[in-house]
């Protein structure tokens, strides 16, 4: 398949580090190959494309006075100062590229595929690099009777639960929770639609890559897009909080045709400005902790309701050990908190696209949350015709846990309004 060549903006390129992956100094040993390649890439110079993993690559052709390309390099472009993504993703992308190259240059792509197989090149997660929480850890989860279902993507298993029928309502949790967070809202909303609650990769019952570089803002968005495509969800109502919003809002900007309305609480989409002191404190704390004690964290963050020990422990269930917790450990540093943070540029583009959308938006907000308080105003600016402000009185950051039923009822009430119907 031919890569779709693009021209990234200089602003984006300035945030990236070109990494030479394939370097060919004797391209002209097969003149016909070089000429076909030059023709397919619109002459010598540099062309860029995005892979199926959303990574940015460039092919650079050099012409040293031969009248045809005589040297070529392929670069991957990664966040400037950050480790590059897992090697198997790069291998998979380069193999895609090589298959196209073969076809273009007059070789047989199936030979390339067979040779790669013969060479033992793996384009999937290496053995031991992905953990799966044992089933028995979820044997005793109160108030969450739903049978888990699974979607496979990129060799990872993403878990979700669903209830009800009708138009889909996609509920995205954030850091450091899992679908369990929405249990007090599912019964209410399942009366009006098909409620679908996935666990983000690295959380809940979903698979958990162990390496830090497996997790990026882009990867989480890619996985959620793959989930939406796999279930072929359309006419979606997106309900999101915390990282569920950072991911969900960017995904909304990337596939807006799939979404019919948006409910966002205590979340945001940051272009690198406006990080709160409360967030900076959490970020520092989380990066120093050996392992996050999530039950303690939930207890201390809830403002309205006391949860039982069983409920609190359910939040730790996905993590039998600290090696299972990498996704939660990485999340705080993926939040774009500076304009030159990887992710700030992508969010800037997302915000531009979101601002042009006209879908109905409802922003019920737990009013006791120091981390996301300013973000509500920012979202109101992005979604200018959102429903009037609606505070969930006394609820904190985890508004679904603090006031799940009340929140679900207020969403139901909004859904019955003409505003929610887009009128």
């Amino acid at each position: 398949m031919k890569p779709e060549f693009i021209q990234p903006s200089p602003e984006e390129l300035a945030l990236l580090r070109p990494d030479p992956l394939l370097v060919e100094q004797e391209l002209d040993m097969r003149p016909e190959f070089a000429e076909r390649l030059a023709a397919a890439t619109v002459g010598a110079g540099r062309v860029y494309w995005r892979s199926r993993h959303d990574h940015l690559y460039a092919l650079e052709l050099g012409d040293f006075g031969r009248g045809r390309p005589s040297a070529a390099s392929v670069y991957g472009h990664w966040d400037r100062f950050e480790p590059r993504p897992p090697e198997h993703e790069i291998d998979a992308d380069l193999l895609d590229f090589c298959l196209w190259l073969a076809e273009t240059g007059g070789l047989n792509p199936s030979d390339v595929a067979k040779v790669a197989q013969f060479a033992g090149i793996k384009t999937v997660w290496p053995e031991g690099s992905v953990l799966r929480t044992p089933e028995e850890r979820f044997a005793n989860i109160p108030g969450f009777p739903y049978e888990p279902k699974y979607v496979d993507m990129e060799g990872l298993r993403m878990a979700y639960v669903e209830a009800g029928e009708g138009n889909p309502i996609l509920m995205l949790h954030g850091e450091p929770t899992w679908g369990y967070l929405y249990r007090r809202m599912i019964p209410t909303l399942a009366k009006v639609g098909r409620v679908i609650v996935p666990d983000l990769i690295g959380f809940g019952r979903s698979d958990k890559p162990v390496a830090a570089n497996a997790y990026s803002y882009k990867a989480h968005c890619r996985w959620i897009r793959a989930f939406i495509s796999a279930l072929d969800l359309r006419n979606l109502t997106l309900v999101c909080q915390d990282w569920g919003g950072l991911i969900g809002l960017r995904v909304l900007s990337q596939m807006p045709d799939r979404f019919a309305r948006l409910v966002a609480m205590n979340t945001g989409i940051s272009d690198g400005r406006g990080a709160t002191p409360a967030f900076e404190k959490w970020r520092r704390f989380s990066q120093r902790a050996e392992m996050l004690d999530i039950p303690a964290l939930m207890r201390s963050t809830l403002t309205k309701r006391k949860i039982t020990d069983e409920e609190a422990n359910s939040y730790q269930a996905p993590y039998p050990g600290k090696e299972y917790q990498m996704a939660a450990l990485v999340f705080p540093r993926l939040v774009p908190n500076r304009p030159d943070h990887p992710g700030a540029y992508d969010n800037k583009l997302a915000i531009e696209k979101l601002s042009a959308l006209t879908l109905p938006v409802f922003l019920p907000w737990g009013d006791q949350d120091a981390i996301t308080a300013p973000a509500e105003r920012v979202l109101r600016k992005i979604f200018r015709n959102s429903a009037p402000p609606h505070a969930i009185q006394g609820a904190g950051h985890f508004v679904q846990e603090d006031a799940g039923e009340e929140l679900a009822e207020s969403i139901m009430a909004w859904l019955r309004t003409p505003h929610a119907a887009g009128k």
């Binding site: 990494d19 670069y75 100062f81 950050e82 480790p83 590059r84 390496a211 830090a212 120093r288 050996e290």
Partner: protein
């Protein structure tokens, strides 16, 4: 990873570990208690972990975990032959990958020469986990170009286009005559060999040419944007205990650089000056510097505790 030769053992008895960073093998020494505060010893061009051999003993004895990585292209790490794989951004990303994979928290970065920009650049990416900073004869900023870096004799001529290949690659003026040519105390033949032998393999010394060409002297230079990205973030270090140790006898980073560093990091202690030392002060005054660092760390953190 190449085997360490027998003659090196008595001077450098520590085991070389390794892991893969950004697709290349990075070797490092990792000594001391696992629960000790990690102190990462970053070396510059054209040296490797050997430069810190006098630091590892005192640090581990004081309860710290001493980690001395060889940056990609040097020491026992991979020596890529592609210039584009050896930019400052690459070296920083390699360092961050090491931090991630060793899962270091509360770490201290010690940096000299290019170990400064590499170590601090990496630490800024994981600033929440950074606890302390020791900087020696290095720089983290653009706008100050010392006489050494600007002078054609020998520096800019040594790495000029094509001419650089003649001096650096054909005559190995840095890789085989680097630290040994600037020693203040007089280095033994075995010590000189320890620095140079890692570049014995033909074409293994790409970095000694790429580093000089990365020095940001004017806008648009290879290392300019990366160095500026680091400089812009220096105010974030204002809460990090920082110590400046300096050899004014260094013809590369004169005391002017220390003063500029102090302007940018006004909370830093020092610069404490060390005479009888030139550019590679860790080699000239190793035990004295190690003592200064241990004293500073003990004072800042009460023992080796994290």
């Amino acid at each position: 990873m190449p085997q360490k030769p027998d003659w090196l053992e008595p001077m450098f008895p520590w085991r070389q570990h390794s892991l893969i960073v950004n697709g290349r093998r990075m070797s490092y020494v990792d000594e001391g208690p696992r629960d000790g505060r990690p102190v990462i010893l970053c070396s510059g061009n054209p040296t490797w972990g050997f430069l810190y051999r006098d630091f590892i003993g005192p640090l581990t004895a004081a309860g710290y975990r001493a980690i001395a990585p060889d940056w990609i292209g040097a020491g026992y790490s991979d020596h890529p032959r592609v210039d584009a794989a050896l930019t400052l951004a690459h070296h920083v990303a390699d360092f961050v990958s090491l931090l991630d994979q060793l899962d270091l928290r509360g770490f201290v970065v010690v940096g000299q020469d290019w170990g400064g920009p590499q170590g601090v650049g990496g630490a800024l990416q994981r600033i929440e986990r950074l606890s302390g900073l020791v900087l020696m004869n290095t720089w983290l900023f653009t706008g100050l170009v010392g006489r050494f870096h600007a002078s054609p004799k020998p520096w800019t001529t040594w790495h000029a286009p094509l001419i650089g290949q003649f001096f650096m690659k054909r005559h190995k003026v840095l890789s085989q005559h680097g630290p040994s040519a600037t020693t203040a105390r007089g280095m033994s033949d075995d010590e000189a060999r320890a620095y140079h032998h890692v570049f014995d393999e033909p074409d293994s010394d790409h970095v000694v040419l790429t580093w000089p060409r990365t020095i940001p002297m004017r806008e648009g230079d290879r290392g300019w944007a990366d160095m500026q990205a680091i400089e812009r973030r220096l105010p974030e270090l204002s809460q990090i205990p920082t110590l400046l140790l300096w050899a004014p006898g260094d013809e590369v980073f004169s005391i002017e650089y220390a003063n500029r560093m102090k302007e940018l990091l006004p909370h830093a202690e020092g610069p404490i000056e060390f005479d009888r030392a030139r550019h590679f002060l860790q080699d000239d005054r190793g035990p004295d510097l190690a003592l200064a660092i241990v004293t500073f760390l003990d004072r800042s953190f009460v023992g080796g505790r994290k």
